[in-house]
């Protein structure tokens, strides 16, 4: 087991250079904190893999290290060349962010270590996880050779051979698990869970980097530790469903997008674009999650800064384009499986689904034992912030995207052909995971903005403005 743990860690470390390259390409690497940028690089590397690996598969290639490592090296070299053209070295950091508190680092790291220890001995329980995520990962790992022939249509795209698997799901998560199998040299289904913990760890590190300008270290560290220990997150992560990975990359992307609305730094938009594309590559639920955050951010921009909506549209278009190969592959191989069939007739016939769905949603978000009441807490704090005119650039997109995601879930459940009581209602806790994670990540900054005295809040805002890279002009008032 120990060797598999080390090899899986090595597999993730191999993705960091790709992340560093990407961050250098978008001019972000030198602007981030000296140490926390490695967490962002890991998440960016994982997100790049989630987006690019399925393209390799559709092209008939493998996701083995033999093919992926040269690609990672190529991204790194491209990033280094771009940084050199801007006159910056690899190790250089221009961030003026305050130094991290060791206490805060310990508060965040401790639950991560405990979770990692629990993960590496975790068996697989859920039949859906086996069929939709791990079985396909095993096939991607073992089929073909080191370079080609992995996604053999004669084997992979035949619903008659995989009667209970959703073959129309995107392949990003399967590819990432196959990547860990490649490094371990076997399909170790217990150590495999560590891959999910590393994704969460990278997401938490990225959230730390993105949220530090808005809230002091200690409350932020307690909040992030709470996310890692949140029973709903722990449970769904250890059942190896793709919902927590989706929630992590989407919430990190949403935070980057929200920061961009206030700071206007292009690298934040580019990072958000990558992460939101990765969310789509994990699971198709990413479609309504991504749409909700783009609309949530666009509405306030339409009111105050219309010309920036064009940049947002470019980002959304790039994210949408990343779905095209998956949709083409799915359509050409007839993999469509329509569990959701929207229509007025169906909605009229299934009105009895509305109340149970709303009731189930309410149960999930108000359950104190599982979700830390993250969503109601964040909603109340966001409303207080709007009233106090603090962090409005955070509160408004969050409120809008929350409403949109909830409406989307209600719409999907209303129009679904799948059994409501046995299948859909128990899955509500998973499908809402993205919203719950984003809400909890926003609780510390919203709480601070809602509670802090004017003087303390202004000091935070001033410090945030000092953090900005030299020459960077904010597009709106700091922390507004």
């Amino acid at each position: 087991m120990t060797s598999n743990i080390v090899l899986l860690l090595a597999g993730n470390a191999a993705l960091i250079p790709a992340g560093v390259g990407f961050l250098s390409l978008i001019d972000a690497w030198h602007r981030l904190g000296q140490w926390s940028r490695f967490a962002v690089a890991l998440l960016a590397g994982q997100a790049l893999f989630l987006v690019v690996a399925p393209l390799l598969l559709y092209a008939g290639l493998s996701v083995s290290p033999l093919l992926a490592l040269p690609l990672c090296a190529a991204v790194l070299v491209a990033g280094l060349l771009a940084a050199r053209r801007r006159g910056r070295g690899l190790l250089q950091s221009e961030s003026k962010a305050r130094e991290s508190s060791p206490v805060a680092a310990v508060i965040v790291a401790a639950p991560l270590v405990i979770l990692a220890c629990a993960a590496v001995v975790q068996p697989l329980y859920e039949i859906d996880t086996m069929l939709n995520w791990v079985m396909k990962a095993k096939v991607l790992w073992a089929n073909g050779d080191q370079l080609t022939g992995v996604l053999d249509p004669e084997v992979f795209t035949r619903p008659d051979l995989h009667p209970q698997s959703h073959l129309e799901y995107p392949l990003g998560m399967n590819a990432l698990l196959a990547w860990s199998f490649h490094w371990m040299g076997e399909a170790d289904i217990r150590v495999m869970h560590l891959q999910l913990v590393l994704l969460l760890a990278a997401g938490v590190g990225t959230a730390w980097t993105l949220l530090r300008p808005m809230v002091p270290d200690l409350p932020l560290a307690v909040g992030l530790a709470g996310l890692i220990a949140m029973p709903a997150v722990v449970h769904h992560l250890l059942t190896a469903y793709a919902d927590v990975p989706l929630a992590v990359v989407w919430a990190a992307g949403a935070l980057a997008l929200i920061r961009w609305t206030g700071d206007g730094e292009r690298y934040q938009l580019a990072l958000a674009t990558l992460l939101l594309a990765a969310a789509l590559a994990v699971k198709q639920d990413g479609i309504f999650y991504d749409a909700a955050i783009y609309v949530g951010v666009a509405v306030p921009l339409l009111v105050h800064q219309r010309r920036r909506v064009l940049e947002l549209l470019v980002s959304a278009s790039v994210v949408a384009l990343t779905v095209v190969p998956w949709q083409v592959y799915s359509a050409t191989h007839d993999l469509g499986r329509r569990d959701v069939r929207p229509g007025l007739g169906r909605m009229q016939a299934q009105t009895d689904r509305v109340l149970p769905t709303l009731e189930g949603t309410l149960n999930v978000v108000t359950h104190p034992r599982t979700t830390l009441m993250a969503l109601p807490l964040a909603l109340v704090l966001a409303l207080i912030c709007l009233r106090r005119r603090r962090l409005t650039g955070v509160a408004a997109p969050f409120l809008i995207s929350t409403v949109l995601v909830l409406v989307a879930i209600l719409f999907v459940y209303w129009n679904s052909a799948v059994t409501l009581e046995l299948v859909l209602i128990p899955a509500l806790g998973r499908i809402m995971m993205g919203l719950i994670v984003l809400a909890w990540l926003l609780v510390p900054p919203l709480a601070y903005a809602a509670i802090a005295s004017t003087r303390a809040y202004d000091e935070m805002a001033t410090a945030s403005e000092r953090d900005r890279a030299p020459g960077q002009v904010p597009t709106s008032a700091p922390l507004s």
Binding site: V121, L124, V155, V215, P219, V443, A447, Y448, E459
Partner: protein, 177 residues
């Protein structure tokens, strides 16, 4: 009237909140916002920890706890009582990674009675679980399969084309030419 003794979890919640409140009261004016934020963020976490420390919840968790050897091979709860587990292990040991197999019965006809429907559901889960367990070995039509897995097979004559037949409990594993 009886007074219930507070549980460890309740004492933990109370102690944490009292500590944080005292810290808040003594915090310097400039830090009060920070301390209050910590209190607000910590409260649901502490509440959740307290909930999860209750005996009822711990008892529920202990039902799912496994030792390390069982953890590797445990079938999901829906495939009850480790049934068909030895079959999976035997198939895994016998079949080459690029082998093809078919699981019989193939569920082609609709069951008519409630008992038959329950049995069909159970066998479908066993089939799915075997499919996951045996991947990347590919499940194909029985006419093309190198291996046949006959679930709940009664004593019957050797299937046509069989080279080896392994009986594992109530199931049969058959290698064909």
């Amino acid at each position: 009237m009886s007074v219930e003794t507070p549980s460890t979890a309740e004492i933990f919640v109370l102690a944490t909140l009292v500590t944080l409140t005292v810290a808040l009261a003594y915090a310097r004016r400039r830090q009060r916002g920070e301390a209050a934020t910590i209190l607000l963020v910590a409260f649901p976490i502490v509440l959740s920890v307290a909930h999860n420390a209750t005996p009822a919840y711990q008892a529920l968790r202990s039902n799912y706890r496994l030792d390390s050897s069982a953890a590797l091979v445990r079938a999901p709860p829906v495939v009850a009582n480790h049934r068909n587990l030895r079959l999976a292990q035997q198939a895994l040991a016998s079949m080459a990674p690029d082998a093809t197999y078919a699981v019989i019965p193939q569920f082609r006809s609709a069951p008519r009675t409630a008992a038959a429907r329950r049995e069909r559901t159970r066998l479908r889960y066993v089939d799915s679980w075997l499919q996951y367990w045996l991947a990347p070995r590919i499940r194909v039509d029985p006419s093309d399969a190198q291996w046949l897995i006959l679930l709940d097979a009664a004593e019957e004559p050797r299937p046509p084309g069989a080279v080896d037949v392994f009986r594992v409990g109530s199931d049969l594993l058959v290698r064909r030419q």
